[in-house]
């Protein structure tokens, strides 16, 4: 029998003097004895805001870890809507976080704040960005995103949901980011007025051939756009088309989706695991001449679109429950 040697590659400051029995005084349990990388692992789970406003003020040891670029490779500016931190302050904190990454930033999440200037600051700081999430960033524009696209050569995952970004940015991103594998471009959905718009789908199909994962919640694409995506993104594995109510999954296209994709979410599939609000505003009676609750700029764009009602539907009868014209149970 050969006994297993107790040497190991894990951090080694955990000496045998730390086997303390239950009867020891709590004072002797010294959390500062944790190996540095273990403390770093803990602090990483706090998110950037907590690290900067709280954790780094606890003691000099924690502050030292909080200044280590290693823990700033991922910056999660998750903003749970804590009202005591204003967007301006969040921007300052984010810049500080970016500074601490010392050029090693790989992954950043910005929610409910952020400007074009901040985006520029982020992308100027690093050439290694692989994951970028800009969600509910009302002040980030197409212009801003297009301007920095050239600085994201290694980008693999992009989430620009619920913002003011249009197909223009998608195209520029696609052309500048050859490695993009995952795109989330989710919108708040408005059923009324009924608009069909395949521009975003076409932009994706044209410029993102390496896509494996695509989430287009609430998009206005039609079967034409969907077909373009299936053709243009042959490596697509997962596709989320929930609340894309212009899509008709019956027939050959639906079959093709089911065959080509490993993971498909259909327009009427449940939304409980969708991270944003999926409630569809109740638009009252259907009236195409009276746009209700429009906030996405697509409607105001110069792109051609046409009101096109499915032949089998009598427009005024469309209720919020569109299950009648396709039934997921048939698949």
């Amino acid at each position: 029998m050969s006994s297993y040697s107790s040497s190991h590659t894990a951090s080694s400051s955990y000496s045998s003097s730390k086997e303390l029995s239950e009867n020891e005084e709590p004072e002797t349990r010294n959390w500062l004895d944790l190996p540095r990388d273990v403390t770093a692992s803990i602090l990483l789970k706090l998110g950037a805001v907590e690290i900067l406003t709280s954790a780094q003020h606890v003691c000099t040891s924690w502050r030292s870890i909080c200044k280590d670029p290693v823990i700033w490779r991922t910056i999660d500016m998750q903003n749970l809507g804590d009202l005591h931190i204003m967007p301006d302050d969040l921007e300052i904190l984010c810049r500080r976080a970016v500074d601490r990454s010392c050029g090693q930033l790989v992954d950043i999440n910005v929610e409910y704040f952020g400007t074009d200037d901040l985006l520029k600051y982020i992308t100027d700081s690093t050439s290694h960005l692989r994951r970028l999430r800009l969600v509910y960033c009302d002040d980030i524009s197409d212009e801003g995103l297009c301007e920095v696209a050239g600085k994201l050569p290694l980008l693999e995952e992009l989430d620009i949901s619920i913002g003011n970004i249009s197909k223009d940015s998608l195209e520029v991103i696609g052309r500048n980011c050859p490695h993009i594998r995952s795109l989330k471009f989710n919108m708040e959905v408005f059923r009324r007025p009924h608009i069909e718009l395949d521009d975003e789908a076409f932009a994706i199909a044209k410029t993102m051939p390496e896509l494996r994962h695509l989430q287009l919640f609430g998009n206005k694409l039609t079967n034409v756009g969907l077909l373009a995506i299936l053709d243009g993104c042959p490596r697509l594995e997962s596709l989320d088309l929930r609340q894309c109510f212009n899509i008709n999954m019956e027939g050959a296209l639906g079959k093709r989706c089911a065959e080509q994709l490993k993971d498909l979410r259909r327009p009427n599939d449940p939304t409980d695991d969708y991270p944003f609000d999926a409630t569809i505003p109740d638009g009252g009676s259907f009236d195409e001449d009276y746009p209700l609750g429009i906030s996405d700029t697509d409607f105001l764009s110069d792109d051609d679109y046409e009101y096109d009602f499915y032949a089998f539907s009598d427009g005024s009868d469309i209720s919020d429950d569109v299950g009648y014209y396709f039934d997921p149970d048939t698949y």
Partner: protein, 165 residues
């Protein structure tokens, strides 16, 4: 050629011996490497830094997660949402431990034995204790001293315009 090992024995720092199934042991990268190394014939593994009390908890975690993996495989791959949720609930209950005592040691044990799931879980548990707390409150929970000089404290407080206390 030794016969296939189905169980191994781990020995705590207190000298107590515990049997672990191979599946459970494989949850630990450390133990896994040993088990897959044909040049080592294992009978007993001393884990010198881990007390009986903690080792029992660690083995419990490993066995539960090994069982879950086996059940998932048997069902053909994906865990159902309810199974995943059940496991999460179990994990949450499992981690309801004394901060002062067990949490620290479980974290260290998971780190030492390289049990990724348990390590992440323990880190998250600690992080959850820190979230939303002021530095003062955090120090109290973890028995840490404020070793900043008053000048440093002043400077940091001004820098962030945030409550420091």
């Amino acid at each position: 050629m030794s016969s296939p090992v189905e169980q191994i024995t781990v020995v705590s720092s207190d000298g107590d011996e515990f049997k672990m199934t191979v599946a459970a042991a494989m949850q630990s990268e450390q133990l896994k490497q040993m088990l897959t190394d044909d040049s080592i014939s294992i009978v007993k593994v001393p884990v010198e830094n881990i007390s009986t009390e903690i080792l029992v908890k660690v083995i419990e975690y490993c066995q539960k997660h090994a069982d879950h993996e086996a059940a998932t495989k048997a069902n053909g791959g994906g865990a159902s949402d309810s199974e995943a949720e059940e496991l999460n609930k179990w994990d949450a209950e499992f981690m309801k431990v004394d901060v002062e005592d067990k949490l620290f040691h479980i974290l260290m044990a998971a780190n030492y034995l390289e049990i990724k799931g348990l390590f992440d879980l323990a880190c998250q548990t600690v992080a959850d204790l820190i979230k939303g707390k002021t530095p003062k409150q955090i120090r109290k929970i973890f028995n840490l001293k404020n070793d900043f000089t008053p000048e440093e404290q002043e400077r940091l407080s001004r820098q962030h315009n945030c409550s420091f206390d």
